[in-house]
């Protein structure tokens, strides 16, 4: 399992009620189910990923996070997880607002466009950065709204979103990934 998932799972309280938005093939959900809380479900858009979740015996709702989060009532989950997909939504601001509405806490991870490798790549090569966390070319990347850790921190500050805990033992320059626990 990806190291990121261990780090996210560590932030989830035992036996809490969890929603994994864009849960992919269910790897993180499975780990949380087996180790932290069985009261977890996911939303996933891709039919093949939904089937992979089903095969793992996970509760998955086939759907589109951009449209389908509105059906959940306020504060209906202790944790809502969004792993590395915020930048791929058409309207990430709306998704973020919805996460903070339906979750008492939201755990959000973003690939950091401010990492030194990314900066160096653009500076020296003059082409769009391709790294381990940003593996796609400009023409086939699903990422519509790239940001840096600093951008995201600034955004939260401006919108009065509380960053409860963050993994930033490093900082904007050295972390490839930012993992944030957010509260409204």
């Amino acid at each position: 399992m990806k190291k990121e998932f261990y780090n996210i799972a560590k932030l989830v309280t035992q036996n809490s009620k969890v929603l994994d938005v864009g849960c992919g093939n269910g790897e993180l959900m499975k780990y949380i189910t087996e180790n932290i809380s069985t009261d977890i479900r996911g939303i996933e858009l891709s039919k093949s990923n939904v089937q992979k979740c089903v095969e793992k015996g996970l509760t998955v709702i086939e759907g589109n996070a951009e449209k389908d989060l509105k059906q959940f009532p306020d504060s209906s989950f202790d944790f809502v997880i969004l792993s590395q997909t915020l930048q791929a939504f058409l309207d990430p601001e709306n998704v973020l607002n919805e996460l903070l509405r339906i979750g008492k806490k939201a755990i959000v991870s973003i690939p950091n466009f401010g990492h030194w490798k990314v900066r160096l790549h653009l500076l020296l090569k003059g082409t769009m950065p391709v790294t381990e966390n940003l593996p796609n070319e400009w023409y086939n990347t699903p990422n519509l709204h790239m940001c840096t850790i600093k951008d995201f921190e600034n955004y939260c500050k401006n919108r009065n979103i509380k960053i409860n805990l963050k993994n930033l033992k490093y900082h904007n320059f050295f972390s490839e990934l930012g993992i944030f626990v957010l509260e409204k």
Partner: protein
């Protein structure tokens, strides 16, 4: 009736007040079982059939001598594994497979009820079937499962008996019968009623059945169970045992011949009045009605874990209507999963060999069962 001599049934002694206002009692309810009930009675599943189904869900139907309608899903080692679960397949009242229905003899007139049979609803069906739990002394079902009208019964069951099922799998159904579906059912009913042998529903006295009307009703309905793509792929414009068009009204096309066949075999196994009564029950189904249009309220008292399944090519009970149930459950924080299965087999997908569908049922049941063991 002698053809039902191998049919298991309970006689429901308790009076059942129907939605139409009438009360029935001492009536038969047919069922079949598969698998064994375990020691702590925790492995029981109640399955509900669709419009023209019956209690013979698996194996060979002793009356029609054909495969049970859910052979793909139900049996030893199958998605609903009868090596593991005890499955009760309930028939519906209003039907013609041994449960109380319009072809039964009215003790007052000594003749079949015909259209003097009371109009029944999905609610009435489920309330009658609930007696099976008492009969088998099952405190809590492990699951309730059904597709199409069977799915409506699942929803109604959970709403009526919120703590009697641990899990529920409504498949390809709706919480409120749509105008289009009422229209299609009305087409079938009018076709039966237009048959001169129908005689206002008292045809059994004449010994002539409205077979033509019932066959046309079935043909029309059968189209709605398939998809345009599926039909095109299977039949296209292929001709039936001929090299060219005959310039007549014979069944030139394979699809015509196929539909005629479907109609003709259907009348051998199904009663025209039952068709009227059961389609009426479907049309009257609107789970939101009692709750001021708010479907969530129908499930408020329930802790049942739901898994809802729809199919991409099902235009009769489309994904949007299945998703409305998901939305209603999520709105009150209930536990629900949802999958739309890719299939070009239309509404009938739930009866057919659609591996993703069967796996979904299997994995959901397996995981849920592990959690209680």
């Amino acid at each position: 009736m002698s053809k039902f001599k191998d049919t298991k049934k309970i006689i429901v002694k308790k009076p059942l007040k129907l939605d139409c206002g009438k009360t029935i009692n001492n009536f038969p309810l047919a069922y079949e079982t598969y698998g064994k009930l375990n020691g702590d009675r925790s492995n029981a599943i109640l399955i509900f059939h669709a419009l023209t189904g019956d209690q013979f869900a698996s194996g060979i139907n002793p009356i029609t001598k054909k495969d049970g309608w859910w052979n793909y899903a139900l049996g030893p080692g199958k998605a609903i594994d009868t090596d593991k679960y005890f499955v009760i397949a309930a028939n519906v009242i209003g039907g013609c497979m041994g449960s109380f229905g319009p072809s039964d003899i009215n003790p007052e007139t000594k003749k079949p009820y015909g259209t003097n049979f009371p109009v029944i609803t999905i609610n009435d069906m489920v309330n009658a079937q609930y007696n099976l739990l008492e009969y088998f002394k099952i405190e809590k079902l492990f699951s309730v499962i059904g597709g199409s009208m069977g799915g409506m019964q699942v929803l109604q069951f959970v709403s009526n008996f919120p703590n009697k099922a641990l899990t529920a799998i409504p498949i390809a159904c709706t919480a409120s019968h749509s105008a289009q579906n009422i229209a299609l059912n009305e087409l079938g009913r009018q076709s039966i009623m237009a048959d001169r042998n129908w005689r206002d529903g008292f045809y059994e006295e004449q010994n002539k059945q409205p077979d033509k009307g019932l066959a046309v009703a079935r043909m029309a309905a059968h189209i709605t169970y398939l998809s345009k793509g599926g039909l095109q792929e299977k039949f296209g414009r292929k001709l039936q045992e001929r090299d060219d068009l005959k310039f007549s009204f014979d069944a030139d096309f394979q699809i015509e011949s196929y539909l005629r066949y479907q109609g003709s075999v259907f009348v051998d196994r199904f009663d025209a009045n039952s068709y009227l009564y059961i389609t009426r029950a479907m049309d009257y189904f609107d789970l939101t009605k009692k709750f001021g249009g708010n479907l969530s309220k129908a499930f408020e008292k329930s802790n049942t874990k739901f898994f809802i399944i729809s199919f991409t090519s099902d235009w009769l009970y489309p994904t949007s209507e299945n998703r409305d149930i998901v939305i209603a459950l999520n709105a009150i924080g209930k536990n629900v999963g949802f999958v739309e299965i890719s299939s070009d087999k239309g509404h009938d997908s739930f009866l057919l060999d659609v591996p993703d569908f069967l796996n979904t049922v299997r994995y959901f049941l397996n995981t849920s069962y592990k959690q209680i063991k």
